[in-house]
Every structure is written in C-alpha cells, then in structure tokens.
C-alpha cells in the first residue's frame, strides 16, 4: 500500500480550525469549572473556619495535643479496660474503674462491658437492617415499573420510600426516644425506617432490570401477582438483594454507633463520654474494639458479596 501525501486543501484547513475552536472552547469550560470549584472550596473553607469555635491556623500547632491525654501512662491499661481487669492505677476515679462494668452471665464468667456494648451496637445494626429488608422487598416489587400491580400504588410507595430515605434519622430517633425512652429501641426504629427507604430504592432499580421472560411465562399460565413476583422476580434478584443488604449492614453499624453517641446507647455513647472526659486508656480500648469490629464486618461482608454477585458488588454508585 502506498501513501500519497497531498497538500492540505481548504476543507482540511476548515476542519482543523473547527477542531481547534472546539477544543479551546472545551478547555475554557474545563478551566472555568475547575476555577469555580476551587473558588467554592476556598469560600467553604473560610466559612467553616469562621463558624468554628477554634480556628484552623490557631489550633494547628496544638492539633496533636490531644494525643497527650490519649497516650496512657501504662499501655497495659488498654487491655485492662478492654477486658475489665482491675488496674493497679485505680484510685477510685471513673478513669480506671474497669471491673465495675462487668456483665456477669454465669457465676464468675462475665462479658466485658465494652464487648457487651459492641454487641448491642451490632445487634442494633442487624435488627434495623432486617426490618429494612423485610419491608423493602415487597415495597421494591410494588415500586418497580415492570412488576407493579398498579401505577398509582407504585408512585405512592416510591414517594414514601423517598421520604423515609431523606428524613433525618436523628429526628425519628429523638421522637421515639420520647415515646419508648431513649435507648437502642428508638435507634433501631430510626435506622430501620431509614433502611426501608435506602434498600427499597436500590432494590426496585434492580427489579426494573430483570429478564421479563420468566414473568411472561408465569403470566401465561395464569399466575397471580404474588406468584409472579415470588417465582419469576425473586430468584433473579435475590443475590443482588443480599449483596446490597450486606452493604447496608456495614453502613448501619456505623450509623448505630453515631446514633448511639447522641443517646441511642451502645458503644457510641460510651466512646463519646470517654473522649469528652479525656480517659486515654478507655478511649483507646473503645477505638480499638470499634475499629476491629467494623474492619471484620467490612471484610466479611465484602467476601460474602464477592461470592454472591462477583465484582459487580463493588460498583456502587457508578
């Protein structure tokens, strides 16, 4: 094959010009966008700094000051705090009263306080995810365009789930704290309601992408709505549902810690108290326990999700 090189004609020049114009316009928009973003960022930084109790540059030299109280005099106190073993440094203050928190189960066998609190938080997360799952599944089939029993019902359920998702959990927790007394139950109701909305949205988006041939087959033999959903919809989507539910468990463990810190009980409350009072050993023990638990749950859930749906489990939001 031979290449023949000809002098650029007028048309080629025009094309090159057009291309140059287009790229320079695009570059202009990119620069403008990035510039706006940077301006917004700087303005936000200034605003956040201005509104804060301590200012960034004033506090920066002292940023590591809190490490001074965080580092315990005796590192063994971290283990003692974790397992509620009496500390030789105990002088009757709350900082070292480790054995007081023991939860005796059987004779002298006890669960250390922090483990009990961690179990509470994890149970809160699991139960609220369970509540979310149980309601989100039927809701998601009603809200899916291709499976809905009635378009009006679909709209109502969709809006309802949107409301549940956007409603601040903390308000529901506060409302129920006044009704069932502050504690895990109020937090579970709040997180559970939020989970219904969050899971429901993800679920119905999965439902809308199913293969409808199985549903048509069932429709042809006269199956009713429930049977079609049960035998045509559910088997296709269940692995994906479980994957998203596991992801929700991860999120809910974090959320129940936070709700716990504002009165929902569990480990969050203890952590907040411990940090605000500056108990080094206790704080480290709590952070260690919380970190390990979340890490284990994340890794386990990631492993299970990979088994359930493969790499797809990690493309969230994309």
């Amino acid at each position: 094959m031979t290449l023949s090189v000809t002098a650029p004609s007028g048309a080629t020049h025009q094309m090159a010009d057009a291309w140059r114009r287009q790229t320079s316009l695009r570059r202009f928009y990119t620069v403008l966008g990035v510039g706006l973003l940077i301006a917004a960022m700087l303005a936000s930084m200034w605003f956040a700094d201005e509104a804060n109790a301590g200012h960034f540059f004033d506090r920066l030299p002292h940023i590591l000051d809190f490490l001074s109280w965080l580092i315990p005099k005796d590192w063994n106190d971290v283990w003692r705090a974790l397992f509620d073993i009496a500390s030789p440094h105990d002088i009757g203050t709350q900082e070292f009263n480790f054995p007081l928190g023991r939860v005796y189960v059987w004779g002298s066998f006890y669960i250390p306080e922090y483990f009990e609190l961690m179990i509470t938080t994890v149970n809160m997360a699991l139960v609220s995810t369970f509540i979310g799952f149980m309601f989100a599944v039927p809701f998601s089939f009603i809200a899916a365009r291709n499976l809905t029993p009635h378009p009006v019902l679909r709209l109502v359920v969709k809006r309802f789930m949107e409301l549940l998702r956007a409603f601040p959990e903390i308000v529901i927790a506060g409302l129920f704290a006044a009704i069932v007394s502050a504690g895990p139950i109020a937090a579970i109701i709040a997180i559970g309601l939020h989970s219904i909305g969050a899971l429901g949205k993800l679920f119905y988006e999965i439902n809308e992408n199913i293969d409808m041939r199985a549903e048509e087959g069932l429709r042809a033999v006269g199956a009713n709505w429930f049977e079609r959903v049960r035998f045509a919809g559910l088997p296709q989507v269940l692995p994906n549902f479980m994957s998203y539910t596991l992801l929700r468990v991860e999120i809910n463990v974090r959320v129940s810690t936070i709700i716990g810190a504002v009165g929902g009980g569990g480990i969050g409350e203890e952590l907040k108290l411990s940090i605000s009072r500056g108990f080094g050993a206790k704080t480290l023990a709590l952070v260690l326990l919380l970190f390990t638990t979340i890490f284990i749950i994340d890794q386990f859930s990631a492993w299970l999700r990979r088994k359930l749906v493969g790499e797809q489990a990690f493309m969230m939001g994309a």
Binding site: F56, R59, L163, V180
Partner: protein, 455 residues
C-alpha cells in the same frame, strides 16, 4: 396442553438430576437459614428486653408530638384568689406582651367566658363556680368548697382529681379548674409568629399593611429603612431563629461539600498508586489499600469526636471528619475503578514512548474520570445526609441544633421546620447529583457506543 404421563415425568427427572435430587444440605439451607433468623430474633427480643420496653412506652405521646409539629397553643391562666380576675399569659406567649384575644370575653356581670372552639366548647366562670361546655354537655363545677366539685353526672371527657378537674376537648385544647385558678390551653393549627416575633414593630399587622409600611411608611426605627428593619426582624426572629437555622444549614452543606471534595483531591493521586495494574510497587499498593481500609474503619464518629476536641465544636471539625473518612471510601472506590479499566489505550499511549505521567493522563484518565466524578457525587449526596447526624455530636451544622430542640421535648414545631429545610436540601442535592450523574453516564454510554461502532 397435553397432560404428562408418569413415564415422561420420570424421564425428565432422570435427565435433570441436579434439580430433582439436590444434596441434602442444599435442600435444607433455606429452612436452616429461616430457623437461624428466627432464633436470632428471639435472642434479640430478649437482649433488648423488648416486651418490657413496649409495656413502658408512652404511645399516647406520639399523636400529641405529631400535632405539635404543625400547631401551637396559648395557655392563659386566671387567678381566682386575687381581688379581680385577670388573665395572665406565660412569658414568651405567642401573642406578645399585652394580648387581648377575642376568644377571652369579659362579661358584663364580671364573669369570664373563654371560647375554646366557639361557644360549643367553652368555659364560663367566676370566683364561685365554673361551667364547662363541650360535646353538647354542660358540666357545672362548684368552687366554693375546699376543692372543685362537679355537680351532676361526670362525663367521660372530664377527669376529677383530688384538687383539680381536667376537661379534655381533643385537639382544640383543655381546661383545668382548681379552687384558686382556671387554666386554659387553646390549640391553633399553624406556626405562630413565623415571620415576625412579638418584639417586632411589624408584629400582628396584616400582610398588606406590612407591605405598605415597607414600601412607603414612616421609619419605625429612626435611622433604618423599614425594609432593613423587617429583614433584620425576620432574620433575628427569637422564636424561630431563622438566621441561626439557615446559617447552621449552610454549615452542614459546607461540611459535606468540603469533606467530600478534599477527600477526592487527596484520594485521586493515591488511588493510582494503590491500583494493582498501575502502581509501580506491589508493596505500596498493599500499604495504601490497608490505609484506605483504616481510614474507613475508624468510623466517621471517631474522627468527628477527635476533631471536635482538636478544633473545638463547629463545621471545621465536621469537615475534617468527613474528609478523613472520604479519603478511605473514595480511595477504595477510585482504585477499584482503576483496576477495572481497559488496558488497550494505556498500551497505545505507552507505545508512543510517553512518560509515566502522560500515560496516566491520556491512557487512563479519559476512561476513569466520569466514573470518579460519578462516585464522588454519590458520596457527596450521602454525606449531605450524614453530616446532619455528625453534627449532633458537636461537629457543627444543623444536627446539634436539631438535637437540642428535640431534647427539650417542647419545641417540635421548630424541629419540623428544620426537618423540612433538611428534606428540601437533600431533595435539591439529590436532583443535582442525579442530573450530573445522568449526564456523565450518557458520556460514558456515548463513548462505549462510538467504540462499538468503530469496532
């Protein structure tokens, strides 16, 4: 449809043994799973002592709280042991300093009539007796003995306590009568003094008058225009605290924005070193990945509490907490996106002899930038919601304000106001983020389509 013979059924069964004769453990897995969940639920029931909590809960408060979201009440009190009966309103009453509402009537004979819901639900009293009217019944109460006594039958909406008689009239209010005072609670639908509070010179004026005052009235406060005065009055409304609420709301938005953006900026270069297919060193990749896991697993709460201690309470602490968590989350998602790219463009750019940076710029970035932006937007959206909760532990924003309004259990209307604002913000930001992500996914889609067309 033809019916199958037993023979045909058997032959199907033999052809597909994996469906009809599954291993025992597989057949019983769902049952076991179900039993396990049931057992767990029983355990949780015991763990949280749910029956006891439910027994001790006050469900009757729920409708009360919910009505308080959209209504307010006025509670005039009438002392009967003074020489002359005069209504007394609690401080900060929604009616201002000298209320003279038309539903409190001083009759010619010295008695007072309070219309709680027109004359059908009302109370009329003097120092010797009170007459409560509601639900078509009239209940006379004698106040001359040492304690209030209902003369005649007591209907079920009236409760007789030792020294007090309480008449509940449903949503509209209630009357409490003792020997020396009558206390009325009258409930109104709506939000009282939402625009101007009782101290404002514009208070209690109809909208038309306010507008004409602002447009062309004489200066109510010398030296300031009426428009500025009205704006100032609204912004500093003592009851609703519009200024404070909106500032705090902006703080929450800023926290989410700043935290996510900075997290993205830091995670972006790190992700290239963490991605298995791009990193120059496998050890570095592992170290960075564990670092991302660490940042994510140290919960946002822990970061928030630490930074609140380091910077003092405020949005700076919240931004820093979200920033640190986001380094982990975005770092992880970015590096996973990088590991899933198509290697051909990279190889193409590499074959031209470009250096490392240029390979990333022209071989990798065009492919991943839309995915990165989409994931960042997704995180921004969820952080806008999360920043509310973080605020409640002292990390600034509307969360703390919300939590404090709720803790007092009295200001549910303010709570609802803030909830509506948060819902509005979440709704707007969801839509912006959805819109941008849709645009982006169209870009990705177009890119894929053009590639497919070119073969």
């Amino acid at each position: 449809m033809a019916t199958m013979t037993a023979e045909q059924m058997l032959s199907i069964e033999q052809r597909h043994p994996q469906i009809f004769r599954r291993p025992l453990y597989k057949r019983f897995t769902p049952l076991l799973l179900f039993a396990g969940i049931l057992l767990y639920l029983v355990y949780v029931l015991w763990f949280f002592s749910l029956p006891q909590v439910l027994r001790e809960s006050h469900w009757e408060r729920l409708p009360l709280f919910l009505t308080q979201w959209v209504s307010y009440d006025l509670q005039p009190e009438f002392r009967l042991d003074q020489p002359e009966i005069t209504p007394k309103y609690p401080r900060f009453s929604a009616l201002g300093e000298n209320p003279n509402p038309d539903w409190v009537i001083k009759n010619a004979n010295g008695t007072y009539t309070i219309l709680i819901d027109g004359p059908a639900k009302s109370v009329t009293f003097d120092k010797t007796q009170a007459t409560i009217v509601a639900n078509g019944q009239t209940v006379p109460v004698s106040l001359t003995g040492g304690k209030p006594v209902v003369s005649g039958p007591v209907p079920d909406w009236v409760t007789v306590h030792d020294d007090e008689i309480v008449a509940k009239m449903g949503f509209v209010g209630e009357v409490r009568v003792t020997v020396d005072r009558v206390k009325v609670r009258k409930r109104f639908l709506g939000w009282a003094n939402f625009v101007f509070d009782t101290r404002s010179p514009f208070f209690g004026k109809p909208a038309g008058e306010v507008v004409s005052l602002i447009m062309s009235g004489p200066e109510l406060k010398p030296g300031t225009s009426n428009l500025a005065l009205a704006g100032d009055n609204i912004w500093n409304n003592a009851q609703w605290q519009h200024g404070d609420v909106w500032t705090k709301l902006l703080q929450t938005i800023v926290m989410a924005f700043l935290g996510t953006l900075l997290g993205g900026i830091v995670a972006f270069p790190l992700a290239f070193f963490a991605a298995r297919n791009i990193t120059p060193s496998g050890v570095l990749s592992q170290v960075l990945k564990r670092f991302f896991d660490f940042m994510r697993s140290v919960d946002m709460l822990i970061w928030a509490l630490f930074f609140t201690r380091a910077f003092g309470p405020g949005p700076l602490a919240g931004s820093a907490a979200i920033f640190f968590t986001e380094i982990g989350t975005l770092g992880k998602t970015y590096s996973e996106a990088l590991e899933n790219i198509d290697d051909k463009p990279r190889e193409g750019v590499l074959s031209t002899g470009a250096n490392g940076l240029l390979v990333q710029r022209y071989g990798v970035m065009p492919e991943v930038i839309p995915v990165f932006i989409s994931q960042t937007l997704y995180q921004w959206e969820s952080n806008t919601r999360g920043a509310t909760i973080i605020g409640a532990v002292g990390a600034g924003g509307i969360g703390l304000k919300l939590w404090e309004a709720m803790r007092t259990n009295s200001n549910w209307a303010n709570v609802f106001y803030m909830v509506l604002l948060i819902l509005m913000v979440v709704f707007i930001f969801d839509n912006i983020s959805n819109f941008l992500r849709r645009r982006l996914s169209r870009t990705i889609h177009d890119y894929n389509r053009i590639q497919a067309e070119q073969g």
